[in-house]
Symmetry: D2
Subunit: 290 residues, 4 copies
Amino acid sequence: MKVAFIGAGNMGTPMALNLIRAGHDLAVYNRTRERLEPLGQAGARIANAPDDAVRGAEVVITMLANDHAVREAILESNAIDALARGAIHMSASTISVALSKELAEVHAAIGQGYVASPVLGRPDSAGAQKLWVMAAGPPDQVNRCRPLMDAMGRAVTVVGEEAWHANLAKIAMNFMLAAMLETMGEAFALVRKSGIGLDVFLEIMNGLFNSPVYTNYGKIVADSRFEPAGFRLTLGLKDIGLALEAAQDFAVPLPVASLVRDHYLDAMAHGRADADWSAITEVSAKNAGL
Amino acid sequence: MKVAFIGAGNMGTPMALNLIRAGHDLAVYNRTRERLEPLGQAGARIANAPDDAVRGAEVVITMLANDHAVREAILESNAIDALARGAIHMSASTISVALSKELAEVHAAIGQGYVASPVLGRPDSAGAQKLWVMAAGPPDQVNRCRPLMDAMGRAVTVVGEEAWHANLAKIAMNFMLAAMLETMGEAFALVRKSGIGLDVFLEIMNGLFNSPVYTNYGKIVADSRFEPAGFRLTLGLKDIGLALEAAQDFAVPLPVASLVRDHYLDAMAHGRADADWSAITEVSAKNAGL
Amino acid sequence: MKVAFIGAGNMGTPMALNLIRAGHDLAVYNRTRERLEPLGQAGARIANAPDDAVRGAEVVITMLANDHAVREAILESNAIDALARGAIHMSASTISVALSKELAEVHAAIGQGYVASPVLGRPDSAGAQKLWVMAAGPPDQVNRCRPLMDAMGRAVTVVGEEAWHANLAKIAMNFMLAAMLETMGEAFALVRKSGIGLDVFLEIMNGLFNSPVYTNYGKIVADSRFEPAGFRLTLGLKDIGLALEAAQDFAVPLPVASLVRDHYLDAMAHGRADADWSAITEVSAKNAGL
Amino acid sequence: MKVAFIGAGNMGTPMALNLIRAGHDLAVYNRTRERLEPLGQAGARIANAPDDAVRGAEVVITMLANDHAVREAILESNAIDALARGAIHMSASTISVALSKELAEVHAAIGQGYVASPVLGRPDSAGAQKLWVMAAGPPDQVNRCRPLMDAMGRAVTVVGEEAWHANLAKIAMNFMLAAMLETMGEAFALVRKSGIGLDVFLEIMNGLFNSPVYTNYGKIVADSRFEPAGFRLTLGLKDIGLALEAAQDFAVPLPVASLVRDHYLDAMAHGRADADWSAITEVSAKNAGL
């Protein structure tokens, strides 16, 4: 397929590489041009602007940091006009429910398709083609994007026929992950301050939950290996903000999410914006006087 | 081994049965006598009182609901005197760090041993000999109890040489479980209120965490199958109280535990004391107007 | 002075009436025209649009519900162009720090003044000319607006030279009020459920705090007199959102504000959007099973 | 009246002095004997033990730090036997609802009276005879103690006929005070980090609430004058614990109290056990990176 790929960050680059490997024809764009080099070397055409990237594409994939970046790349650039009628915007970024609804409307109004396909997984999973793709949108459009999703992940789950359903599911999963990290931070603080070995506690935790997520993050946190960030703390704060925003729209109290947000702000106030989002666990340690 | 087993509740009964099956010689006691019948039929001697049960035992195992019950059965009965010098109290109940410290001192002062061996797992795991045993205490005493632990569980982890270390580890694990349930309740409330299917969300959650704990509880909660209780909500409230009490002793703030406690009180105020502790998820649903 | 007054709600109408009574020459505008009648009868000129209102005015006062309404009335209408160079926008609405900063820049760029003057007090205080005005902005501009502030309130406090300082102070005060209401709700739930008379508890509370705020709200809450709303619950939710937004910009965790927000969402989910914001106390009562 | 007074701390000493000044005949006891000197010089008889103090007394007043101290002085000493039948135990300490219920039963069973009379106010108020006394118990017993209450305070409020009602009211008031301090700490952190002057914010806060409590604590906090403590932080933690304990008995969630408790633990973990309880505000400042 002829694909435009916008966003060459930690996640976007390996995702785009997997698409190239799968034989798709990519045009790539990123605001910071240097980040496009590996994709150029792998055979992608390097575009000068979003509209340049999307011209002629059957599908434009966006994999950007936040609402603002997606808005800028698609809605506030010429890309929206340059994209062919009948082409599909496949939005893989973790964006707000509100923006996803807006994009669905805008694209539909001018005869373009719109599918949300946020992914679960960290950069190494992206590289290993092991992302989990949550897809939502009109079924025929989701189906047309399916080969691209398959090229990037190990599994695709169709969440619903409204594109924003996938965004909400992704936001809710990231909330669950952040809550798990916060809980781990509190438990570890108690365990460490009581003098019990963290290694034996990890053994029990892993034995009980028997989950790769707990195992991986347990090790990162026990080793305080927060740099380089697999997923930056500011992005964790952004995502918990998206959860709270969606929860407000639906009038759903999320007290654990509120607490996680406050601990991310505490971490921000202590200079941890660029650490991995699991550095939220340092807040519990600090507040316990460790 | 000659074993006294005190406490024939949902967990104690299958644990004692496994000991009998492994060939140990059991005397059993329970305040409500009728509950002892299955054990008597399996070959255990039914004792009339704690001191009657412990007489001649090499090890007395307690598996009771809370601090009060253990205090009553051992410290405030004649059992403490009737137990032979050199015998070991193996305390499998989830009790407070403070009581575990007190028991260690009292037993040591009169030449008895004391080992803490709280277990992870629900009644069905107990029946299937699949409990996870966290053991702590003087190494030689832990070793002497080892055959009993092996007869009850699939694995034993030695947490430390102070018996209370095992109690704290257990308390911390139950806190992590309760926090996971609370988080699930909040996420499910958001997902349900937004109109997304809970089944597809469960699929994603299970795909991501890939943990039997999430899978089992996810199903229980999605089906609102809170009765009969595998682990009663009042016991969940008790355990979160033990976590907060231990955390206070070590000056460790545990905001998620505080929040979980408040939601357990909300559930209590709405008549859910006897439901499974995963019914904490109903609180988030109720507060969202579901 | 020649004044344009935009916004004739529960607060705006009595404020504008006080300006007319003080002898100022008013042109008034409101999206819902019927609400302007009392002002027209009092001698104000009724304008057809924001730009019509501001034409010829020395000062335009906005007293609107939220950021969106202020943005629409000033930035996204022709009013910004119709307002004379040298004239001042005196913004009395409770708006975000971010919008206040934006307004200061936009007005300054085209030679207009901008002063923030949010007020403390409920509609009856506005009617009785007993509002407390928090003013901020360039000192000469604040001084020029002083006669108008004096006509509306019992006192003016100059918060700083940056207009947004007054907005932040107002937002922080509303947070303190909302937190006081939440605390009252929790204390009342405990007192009521224990069977102690609320009247005697109010007597103690008022004896201790000796504050008209506690006295007034204590009575409203004890009588469940949440309708008609003096200050609507949705506005309380909006204001706590402004506090959390500002706190995020400055990386300040505000856990009590987070909790208040969750309880406002709980109230919203139970149909209390239009009740007085002190109906947050019903949430604590409900969650206690009262 | 012939009065035994047990407890010569920061509060007890000025209270006892006021009783002496009012002409009552006092026998005083305190575990640390040196603290009794000022009372001896003022004319009180210094007793060697609680039972020595209560012998011959019509009323024994306890003003001690916590449940443990009251239990030790009355229930676990010979004082309970030495106290005359018909005499009254007037318990001014802030103790748990549970202990107050127990004391009422124990005293009644042996023909003694029991009245709870916790007080609101700090040491300087105690010295100035300006405490607020919350009294509860059988009306005739409360009446007999009335002259003593009048000698110590500016006002007496009768809360109910069950002694524990006064304890619960006191606990609820201290919760409201602690919540107010926590809120102040959060608001001040936001205000300070934004660069607004704290003095102008205090002016607005005091103008709005117009409460001596806000004025006094606002000044203490703004000046960071946390030593010497008027009311020690550990006592604040104890009292919030009493509120949470009572709330658990009545199944009432108190999320603000939970949060206050966590912040007191944070303060404890940072060495502030002996600071004034208003030092809880330092936690919000610290967590905001100030």
